[in-house]
């Protein structure tokens, strides 16, 4: 496998981490909590989309929209029931509640949808002139292949990132979000409804989770109730890597993590690739203690 192949594979994996990491980083930036249930919301999104597309035979785009709506509602419900009552509690209490929600979603999925893996349909293919299916494009006379899923994932990732950046930097709600992330009490004094702002953040994060779930399962098409948990942890790592709370950081962190993982597998050892990834993470954090693009927090004396 050439270096270029490895990098392309890494970007493809990394762009999925990035899109999941966006959800982590947004919620963290505003609510200052690690939403460990995010990975499981992704799983729910993927299941909803799977059933909409295969059992009910709906158009892929409609299926994704349904998944987004369901996940957004789910996100708001979780926030209202489990996180909102803990607004004034220590952040660790919220972390544990999030873990409880994660267990809940996984076990609910197990009961509802059985542990048997479902194979996610590939939405991103086209029928060539000779009737065969095409799942990607060939470059340089076939020596380099990029699948449509990878292209779509990267594209969606960039679009979402740009949209989020514009949304956060302009407009009333975006301003409110930034204010909440700076200082909740002051924001409240300025007439910002902090609770609504946080709910909206969760809604957006969960809606994005549905997209992430669809893209994750399009790239790696087995769907089980634990599908979201490991990518969730990796994406969380990616978010910290890039500087948690920073939207471009999530993208950069995700892509870097994906590329390192694939390169470690290809050139060091498939057995120790995870160890290598985490070792690189540690080194980076030692050099830049608040992640690649994280804001340096000045300590108040």
């Amino acid at each position: 496998m050439s270096l270029l192949d490895s990098i392309i594979n890494g970007i493809s994996l990394g762009s999925i981490y990035a899109i999941i990491a966006l959800g982590y980083t947004m919620v963290y930036g505003i609510a200052k909590m690690l939403n460990f249930a995010h990975g499981d919301v992704i799983m729910v999104g993927a299941y909803v989309c799977f059933f909409a597309a295969t059992r009910f035979g709906l158009n892929p785009l409609v299926s994704v929209l349904i998944a987004m709506v369901v996940c957004t509602l789910l996100g708001i419900t979780i926030e209202k029931l489990a996180y909102a009552p803990l607004r004034s509690a220590p952040s660790l209490a919220v972390l544990i509640t999030a873990i409880g929600v994660s267990y809940f979603l996984q076990n609910l999925a197990l009961l509802l949808w059985s542990p048997n893996p479902k194979v996610f349909p590939n939405f991103f293919k086209k029928i060539a002139d000779d009737g065969s299916e095409l799942t990607g494009i060939n470059l340089f006379g076939g020596s380099l292949r990029i699948s449509y899923v990878t292209l779509v994932t990267i594209l969606v990732c960039v679009v979402i990132m740009v949209a989020l950046t514009v949304f956060i930097n302009n407009g009333k709600l975006g301003k409110a979000m930034r204010a909440c992330s700076e200082d909740k009490d002051t924001a409240r004094l300025m007439g910002i409804n902090v609770n609504t702002t946080i709910s909206v953040t969760f809604a957006i994060g969960s809606g994005l989770a549905a997209i992430a779930g669809v893209l994750l399962c399009s790239a790696y098409p087995t769907l089980v109730p634990t599908t979201g948990s490991m990518p969730g942890i990796k994406a969380f790592t990616a978010a910290v890597f890039g500087g948690i709370g920073s939207v471009p950081g999530a993208l950069l962190g995700g892509l870097t993590l994906g590329v390192i993982e694939i390169l470690a597998k290809a050139y060091i050892s498939t057995q120790l690739s995870d160890a290598v990834v985490f070792a690189v993470l540690i080194i980076v954090l030692l050099v830049k203690p608040s992640g690649l693009l994280g804001r340096k927090i000045n300590e108040k004396v």
Binding site: M1, D5, S6, N9, L13, F50, T54, N107, L110, S114, P115, N116, P117, K118, V119, F120, P121, T135, G136, R145, S147, A219, Y220, P221, T222, V224, P225, T226, M230, P231, I233, K234, E261, I262, K265, A266, T270, Q271, S273, D274
Partner: protein
């Protein structure tokens, strides 16, 4: 605040302790008939228990075993002779929880055991059944470690090493390939066991291992590196000692990069065709060794598959078939040895060891099965190849 919390926790604790003492009324499949032949029927109803992952990532295997065992017990309880009360407890594929689950079964009064479904928990419960002298036969705990250091733990599936050397032999005998790649899961006892013996057998049979790559839990979705390694080193055949879920991803990703070697799987590959939504053309030509085939013409197999499908809406896999066989093997052994339910566990255990090492059993997963003193079964895996979306016998 802290006091309230402490009180609450203490109350919870007290409650749990009390509940611990009580008998847990868990999933039991009681015999259907209570009236007929009271005296004898009472004496012949045995408490059969087992642990398996009913929740978590490995739940698919545990549930298959539990479901199939329930079907077998239902059938047997409708017949004359030995009856069973069945209870399955969740071990979440974890040795610690398996021991807890085993102890719950012991409190319930389990007399004979179906061990644990997966290997690592089964090693843990085997030590317990050995200490308590409860006879156990696991449908699917295939590691050799399960049988080590005890005389009363038996297996219904063949051991992993058996499969590894059989696979190498098969590839050699049929002249399938000389350059072979192996992709295996290096944090899994099952995969590692098969891999080790395959690698030991391969050089003697003229098989050249050109690529040897691994994956782990949580790192089991992107196989681009492993596939590219096998492809670039010119492997004609890729050996996949793993379960079918990661294998389905490998097939799809290999196709996406245009790599089409011969694929060779083991019994864990069985079930890939019934994966919901799986494009069976990806698995076209895959060769696998399996003791069980749901498409078989055999009348008993067909009856079992039909019943399983009706009850659980799925095609049973080889885990289910092995579990079904376990219950029937128990029926045969208990009846032949003349065990009664009022005998002590030690007595039953001694009789079962004697019976299992001398009897021959015909089940869904093979005819004429026998067991040696270590508890390993002798049955030979059948070679199958996937053609037009169905398993077809090779010999």
């Amino acid at each position: 605040m802290k006091k309230i919390l402490a009180l609450m926790l203490v109350a919870m604790l007290a409650l749990t302790l009390v509940a611990c003492g009580e008998k847990t009324p868990a999933e039991t499949t009681a015999p259907a008939d209570d009236g007929a032949g009271e005296e004898t029927a009472q004496n012949l109803t045995f408490k059969l228990g087992g642990t398996g992952p009913l929740t978590g990532g490995a739940a698919i295997y545990g549930l298959a075993v539990k479901n199939a065992a329930e079907i077998a017990v239902e059938e047997i309880n409708a017949m004359d002779g030995v009856h069973f009360e069945l209870q399955y407890q969740d071990d979440a594929h974890d040795a610690e929880k398996a021991v807890n689950a085993y102890n719950a079964l012991k409190d319930w009064g389990m007399q004979i055991s179906m061990g644990s479904v997966t290997s690592t928990p089964c090693v843990a419960t085997a030590a317990e059944t050995y200490a308590d002298r409860i006879f156990a036969i696991t449908p699917s705990g295939s590691s050799t470690a399960v049988l080590e250091g005890n005389d009363n733990q038996f297996q219904m599936c063949f051991t992993d090493p058996n499969q590894g050397s059989a696979s190498a032999q098969y590839i050699h005998d049929k002249g399938l390939a000389s350059k072979v790649a192996v992709i295996w899961k290096n944090d899994d006892v099952y995969s590692k066991g098969i891999y080790d013996t395959f690698m030991a057998a391969a050089p003697g049979l003229g098989l050249e291992i050109v690529s040897d790559t691994t994956f782990q839990d949580g790192n089991d979705t992107n196989f681009s590196v492993q596939i590219a390694d096998a492809q670039s080193k010119g492997a004609e055949l890729v050996f996949l000692p793993m379960y079918y879920t990661p294998a389905s991803l490998i097939f799809a990703q290999a196709k996406a990069v245009g790599y089409e070697p011969k694929w060779f799987g083991v019994d864990g590959m069985y079930g890939i065709l019934t994966l919901e939504g799986f494009d069976t053309s990806l698995a076209e030509g895959v060769i696998l060794l399996t003791p069980f085939n749901a498409d078989s013409e055999d009348a008993r197999t067909q009856a079992f598959v039909a019943k399983y499908q009706e009850k659980f809406g799925e095609i049973p896999n080889q885990f289910a078939a092995d579990a079904y066989d376990c219950v029937y093997a128990y029926k045969q052994a208990l009846e032949d040895s003349g065990c009664t339910a009022d005998m002590s566990r030690e007595e039953i255990c001694a009789k079962m060891i004697e019976q299992f090492t001398t009897m021959t059993f015909d089940g869904l997963t093979g005819d004429g099965m026998t067991w040696d003193a270590t508890g390993a079964v002798t049955k030979s895996p059948k070679g199958m190849v996937i053609q037009n979306g169905a398993y077809v016998g090779l010999d």
